[in-house]
């Protein structure tokens, strides 16, 4: 009764679908370079993608943007996903929740199992406004309270920057008071409009300090902190170490608003197909890029001889691509890589 650690499923289990690049905000660091004039996937194509996802065995759709609440008939798309018995999650900037609260109530009548993420980078307008418009702070808090009042408990997605990393315990206490139970911390990545702010990336030392404090902060605040880095296990005692690989080509596939298929939202230069001409299943099996990402013997630098490479598979491939120009290079945040430098 063995439980093998490495297995490549026959098709993605999770499909991320960026429905639109339209957004009512213009955040400095936006990964999707979203704007009010952005483009969207036509609704019939979105339906066709959901149908294909169901056919090939995808279990969860993660809807993103842009701002998903600006996508025409967004809630109809959600209901269609429910009708296909698929799980789904989406992320919103929160500012349009109050205008759509009746639709949230209606959606909740169809399913109670969807997940909503709200972007919030701090516990004050100033801190939240480091990359985002400051005046969105109050509407977001209002959105969290409104959703909670109809028994939808959103999780918070917080992009780490040089300021908010100094106040994480205060942010967690603030969220705890709002009855938020889950936060996902994401280090700022220089993608989309964020490429102009490469200097804002956290240092490896700053990021590692956060990882070392995580459990203490969780215990004190009661807020569960998720930070997925494949090498995060290195901060655990040796007996508890369990690498969780990067999901690119392993569990998940991305489709952007143009229909381009990507291994990961951070590998924007590595387009492996397009939904208007390719089948998701064919791309999953045959893409040379995905097959390279799956082959840990292709990893370069410190990863090529690392004892953990089978489990961690080189960490974040997007970070390797940004900083070294090659997704097979080492993840610059990896503690082992940093020891060697």
């Amino acid at each position: 009764m063995d439980i093998p650690k490495i297995y490549i499923p026959k098709s993605p289990l999770v499909l991320s679908l960026d429905l639109t690049s339209r957004c009512n905000l213009n955040c400095a660091h936006c990964l999707a370079d979203a704007s009010p004039n952005g483009a969207s996937i036509p609704q019939d194509m979105a339906i066709s993608i959901i149908d294909e996802a169901k056919r090939i065995g995808v279990k969860e759709l993660v809807l993103g943007g842009g701002e998903v609440l600006l996508y025409n008939n967004f809630f109809d798309i959600c209901k269609y996903i429910v009708s296909k018995d698929l799980e789904f999650a989406f992320t919103t900037n929160g500012t349009l929740v109050s205008h759509n609260i009746d639709r949230f109530i209606e959606l909740r009548k169809h399913t109670k199992s969807f997940k909503v993420g709200i972007s919030l980078d701090g516990h004050t307008p100033e801190l939240h406004g480091y990359f985002r418009p400051k005046d969105t702070f109050e509407p977001i808090i209002n959105a969290i309270e409104l959703l909670s009042s109809i028994n939808i408990n959103p999780h918070v997605i917080c992009v780490l920057n040089r300021e908010n990393i100094k106040q994480i315990p205060e942010i967690l206490n603030f969220l705890s008071d709002l009855k938020i139970t889950n936060i996902r911390l994401i280090p700022f990545m220089p993608v989309g409009r964020g490429t102009r702010y490469k200097c804002e990336m956290l240092s490896a030392k700053e990021f590692h300090t956060i990882l070392k404090q995580k459990n203490i902060w969780m215990e004190k605040s009661g807020v569960n902190i998720a930070i997925h880095m494949p090498w995060e296990f290195l901060f655990q005692p040796p007996k508890d170490r369990c690498p969780t690989p990067c999901e690119a080509g392993y569990v998940r596939l991305w489709i952007d608003f143009k229909g381009d298929i990507l291994p990961c939202a951070y590998l924007t230069d590595s387009i492996i197909g397009n939904i208007y001409r390719d089948k998701i299943e064919d791309i999953w099996i045959n893409s040379p890029i995905l097959n390279e990402l799956r082959d840990s013997t292709m990893l370069k630098g410190a990863c090529s001889t690392c004892e953990f490479r089978e489990g961690c598979r080189g960490g974040c491939r997007g970070l390797a691509q940004f900083l070294k120009g090659d997704y097979l290079c080492t993840d610059p945040y990896c503690p082992i890589v940093n020891q060697e430098q």
């Binding site: 009764m1 439980i3 093998p4 799980e87 969780t244 569990v251």
Partner: protein, 90 residues
């Protein structure tokens, strides 16, 4: 050495994404995949809060013509591993 499990204990799996692939059962949770062969999947599916450990042992011993001791060792060891991975609660 694994923790003992009472024969009348009814293990229950956590809520997790599952997909059948040929003779394998693929589970996904928290960026990790867990892949089970047919025998492991059979035990997994019995972990629904309705079957006791004793029932599982009897079923495996009868179906695969193995001794109850061997079936018990395998099942208890497997369920302990699932508990350690937070996939099953006792």
């Amino acid at each position: 050495m694994y923790r003992p499990i009472l024969p009348d204990c009814k293990p229950r799996t956590i809520r997790i994404m599952e997909r059948k692939e040929d003779d394998k059962l693929v589970l996904y949770r928290g960026h990790r995949l867990f892949v089970m062969g047919p025998h492991a999947a059979e035990i997994w599916q019995m972990c629904n809060g309705e079957h006791t450990i004793d029932e599982m042992i009897r079923l495996v011993a009868d179906r695969y013509d193995v001794s109850k001791e061997k079936a018990s060792d395998e099942i208890i060891s497997f369920i302990n591993r699932l508990v350690d991975m937070n996939l099953v609660v006792l």
